[in-house]
């Protein structure tokens, strides 16, 4: 699903796709399980497939901004984070500088992801705390 969507957004996606991104298809039994879960109406199909796949791959984190998927994946014992968490985590571990993470946060707040003013301000405050010199 990601591959299809990214290919639509960026025509050169397939050619320049980072090597660390691998596409893992569902096994036949997992496809049936995903269809059955999707038909229950709780989740969209992409989220359903991702959760079923994560059950097998047992990743350290399951990443989603979808509320229902986050609830469902958490109920299965997965550690779930969203885009905001990932931006702040990259700052926390030093992959991004203060200005880069501030800019990433700013860009994230302008996407279709809903972030309230309070949360945005809390996230900005967290960045300041992280980069505060002791």
């Amino acid at each position: 699903m990601v591959d299809i969507e990214m290919n639509e957004l960026h025509p050169l996606w397939r050619k320049h796709r980072p090597e660390w991104i691998t596409i893992e298809p569902l096994l036949p039994d997992e496809t049936k399980e995903a269809e059955s879960l999707f038909l229950s109406g709780l989740l969209d199909f992409a989220e359903t497939e991702a959760i079923i796949l994560a059950k097998r791959l047992k990743p350290e984190w399951f990443l989603t901004d979808d509320t229902e998927a986050r609830i469902f994946a958490s109920s299965l014992g997965m550690e779930v984070h969203g885009s905001l968490g990932i931006v702040l985590w990259t700052a926390a571990v030093g992959h991004l500088s203060y200005s880069e993470s501030k800019e990433a946060l700013d860009r994230l707040s302008k996407t279709s992801l809903w972030i309230s003013k309070d949360i945005l301000s809390e996230a900005q405050k967290a960045l300041k705390t992280m980069f505060k010199k002791n």
């Binding site: 509320t67 984070h81 702040l88 985590w89 571990v93 809903w114």
Partner: protein
């Protein structure tokens, strides 16, 4: 699909049965699924905000241990 077993108080159980028998839902499971979906829909923004707060706290904790 995940199956959840829940105990219901008698009054709630009767109401559930009445809705199902009355033809409002195909069965009790469908009513429970619908109720959960409605709950999530109504509380979506609140839940999203809560999840984002959890992520902010998580990143701050990571920062604290990587210092």
């Amino acid at each position: 699909m995940k199956t959840i077993k829940v105990s219901l108080p008698e009054k709630l159980e009767m109401e559930l049965e009445n809705y199902a028998k009355g033809g409002w839902f195909t069965d009790e499971a469908e009513l429970v699924r619908t109720a959960l979906q409605e709950f999530i829909r109504h509380n979506k923004l609140k839940l999203m905000e809560q999840f984002m707060k959890e992520d902010i706290e998580w990143a701050l904790k990571v920062k604290a241990v990587t210092k």
